[in-house]
Symmetry: C4
Subunit: 199 residues, 4 copies
């Protein structure tokens, strides 16, 4: 089955998720500069979530680039990921409007954790479909970053019960880990394309 519509649908959902979050930046009633101040925590949580959705879109783009075809299981694993991504605007707004207090930060972490788990399920389903010796499996490697992220999320959720800012700082850390482009994977995909088209 063709991967084109899977990409188009995922792009659509991600584009909407990343954009509707900004609707939570409610237009303030006053017209002074001070009227913007209460929006600062909402804005901060918007920035973090924008980066997270950007990272997911980026990784999704890279991964599907190496994919040859999709199955029904892949479609559902992808929808499972989109479901958890669709909850990010909700927890982003809840966290921002409550100035990063304990429970909203914990729930934000739980949604990030579920996203990471859903993404690794999608990876596993794709590797199972392409075979352990496929170029995709080699390109994705041992998914070390994914495993480290899940570990940090769990630590962050626990740390949020001590102080919410510990959790928030760890969420930023995970974003930094992913933000730095993974040259190694990009190279492997480039190599594999060379093998595929020229070899």
């Amino acid at each position: 089955m063709d991967k084109g519509r899977l990409e188009a649908f995922s792009d659509g959902v991600l584009a909407i998720i990343i954009t509707i979050m900004v609707l939570e930046l409610k237009v303030p009633h006053g017209d002074s500069f001070e009227a913007l101040k209460p929006l600062l925590p909402v804005f901060l949580s918007y920035v973090l979530s924008f980066i997270y959705i950007g990272i997911y879109w980026n990784n999704h783009h890279h991964m599907l680039h190496a994919v040859r075809s999709v199955t029904g299981s892949v479609l559902w694993a992808n929808l499972f990921l989109l479901f958890w991504l669709s909850l990010i605007p909700f927890v982003t707004a809840w966290m921002g409007e409550n100035h990063f207090s304990k429970w909203p930060v914990v729930c934000y972490g739980l949604v990030l954790l579920m996203n990471a788990i859903a993404y690794s399920i999608l990876v596993k389903v794709l590797i199972y479909h392409h075979g352990e010796n496929s170029l995709l499996a080699k390109a994705l490697g041992s998914d070390l970053k994914g495993k480290i992220s899940i570990g940090i999320y769990i630590t962050a959720i626990g740390a949020s019960f001590i102080h919410a800012w510990f959790g928030f700082a760890l969420y930023i850390l995970v974003a930094c880990i992913w933000f730095i482009p993974d040259r190694r994977i990009e190279n492997k995909i480039t190599d594999s394309n060379k093998i595929n088209y020229n070899g």
Copy 2:
């Protein structure tokens, strides 16, 4: 006429429908864990509707994969389906906010029923356009699942008048029937593609 834009437009509408439903998960005012509790029924109805939109997208994807070209009638049959799908966020929110009380559950079922009817009209229009002996007609077969679904929806609407949870349970049942991938159809399409490209 080309099917590309029909797919792109449908993907866009489905991506928006599946995403704007989450806007009904209104951010609670408090920051305690208890503040989330009143959202539970809204969340539950969101999950069910997300799965339903996912099933429709999945089936739409499969069906159009086997389609060769589209006509004006196909465009309108598709828009008729999109119209009823666009009402799902409304009945989802109404059902969730009223904790699955009778009339919202009945209306949710009516919208699902109209979606199922609209989908079977789209199937009929496509088969009429491709011919009764086309690979599409063979791949879709007798549309047994579609007919069973319509029967269960009607039963569910009636059962909701006795108790709303009867109706809700039957809606979950239909989702389960469709969730299990229809290997037989997928195989037939794969076969037909082989015939088409290799034979």
Copy 3:
């Protein structure tokens, strides 16, 4: 210049316009069947606007199918059309919430009129770019339907001052004129494709 992104962007905007209109169907507070009654005029105006957006998408799809390439002027003529289409959700909601009273019905007509004018500008810009003797110009013909529509819209706006339902009835009439597929144009495009690919 390639027409692919023009189609993709237009599809995206039209998909969003057709879907956000449903957000004006505000979830009622009660859970009785009577709670839905006040929504009936909003629902009616939603149905009419859904059909109008569907017609525009359909015609846009047909017209661009016959287009070979686009210029900067085409992009702006298209954006001008999308601008007026983007106002349809606003006038739809205003008309529905005020139970089809005079001024909302007049403004709904004005927006439809501007859409029709914007569409005929887009047609003229495309014909100018492709040449008077192009297959596109022949396929579009004298745009009789477009001219009749503009005439009816002007009549409808005037008639709304006598009674709003006169205007509303005429808007439905225009929708009916366009809803009936224009076999002649579809055939010409099919012919022109034959000429183009086979001749």
Copy 4:
């Protein structure tokens, strides 16, 4: 790496941004013509922002047309631009609802300035990736318009402190500069395509 999904995702985000702005045109409670009057400044700022998003989509379309491939850095530079574009609906609504008073006009200018900077970063990243002697670099030239725009934005932000209308007038001026199609660039791209495909 392929540029297709970058275009699709950007089109999606831009289509949503341009459309959700219209949601700020809140449906008035009355049904008289006078009920529309308070919406006039919101409508005016909507028109200006619609034109700005249109210009960005247009330029993005042109630039990526000349692009051969994209890297991780390009994806992030593009997301940085989309981030600042996503803030346009917020400042548009704030400016319109406060009848173009000082601080909203200043903030509108700041967001436009950041968009212009983000766009020129994207240009630089693309030229760096394609090489200084690439057709892309030649087609984009010295980006004189971009530099002039940044200068006018800074002037406009300063002028807004004297009177907000000075700033607003300068924002309209920049839109006019860009609205006039840049024939020279379009020609160069056309030439470069000729070189590429025919030479």
